[in-house]
Symmetry: C2
Subunit: 209 residues, 2 copies
Amino acid sequence: MAAPVHATMSLSLDGYGAGSGQTLESPMGDLPGPALHRWMFETPEENAEEQAHIVGASAYIMGRNMFGPVRGEWPVDGEPWTGWWGPEPPYHAPVFVLTHHEREPLEMAGGTTFHFVTDGIHSAFEQAQAAVRERGDDGRIHIAGGVSTINQYLAAGLIDELHLQISPVILGHGERLFEGLGHIPLEQVSITPKSLVTHVVYRVLKPGA
Amino acid sequence: MAAPVHATMSLSLDGYGAGSGQTLESPMGDLPGPALHRWMFETPEENAEEQAHIVGASAYIMGRNMFGPVRGEWPVDGEPWTGWWGPEPPYHAPVFVLTHHEREPLEMAGGTTFHFVTDGIHSAFEQAQAAVRERGDDGRIHIAGGVSTINQYLAAGLIDELHLQISPVILGHGERLFEGLGHIPLEQVSITPKSLVTHVVYRVLKPGA
């Protein structure tokens, strides 16, 4: 049986998943993009359960920009880039990074291993499914971002649930999560407001449902 | 003291306020636009309180398309057009319709009078404020739609609260409510999920807040 696939992302009310202008110094983009993540940094206790869900998958898929700097090859300033998260990333599971640049798997402390996938989103999907099967648990796969990666998986019909954190801001610029997808019917699963964010979970239905 | 101004609208998860292709026969636009209003037609009891808010203002402002057919002058098939709502519209208050076509005020049953405003959104705003003052209540003004009317009032900084009904659907086309507005910080006031919709209320903050 295939593992369920959730997409997780912080979103503005106008549907932007990140501010533009991501750099090494500002991986979430220039202002006002960080407004999307205030809930995470300013009210962690209040959102502990939802944050635990975000890092509670048995395998992850993410885009190249989510793993590393927007421009440049893997070495940054002469050192091999190991992700934004320091020596012990919060994933504690295999993470499949979509990229055009081959690289050996990168084993980090705490159970996170980054696997670099150069042959597309379907290959990463199959590898993530195989990783969950190997673990033998009833875990799920998270498509962790960024915007274009989740957009591609939505377009391919491979996402079962959207787990979005909607922040109280109209951003006005950035990358639109739902761009070019056409009509996709959804079903509300849960809506959980907190002081700086609303956590929404939607089931993705088949077109025509 | 100025009356508070609320914008009310049903919205898709991807920020569209209406399907495209509105016609006389299908005022809310072609499919899948009607998916935005399922909550209203299929679960009226469940949403009675929120529906009461939508039609509970002391004065309304709406765009031409919200009042009448997209194309054509006021007479439709030889008869003067009196709105989509039959002889007794649900507003029971003055309604200021933004239009380029002059017309005498149109008094309907139940207290609704349509006033046709040809000199712009600020004029309609002042007339609505004056109407609330005349009533002497502590009522509010609703910007009732459509998308471009609310968008213009948001751009002008004249809206205090957004009262949106977010439907579980990615529409993929239509008019984007927040198009071209730039950065507008918001504050969550209330989030109320129902089975087919989530009612969200956001306070509009000053840019820079």
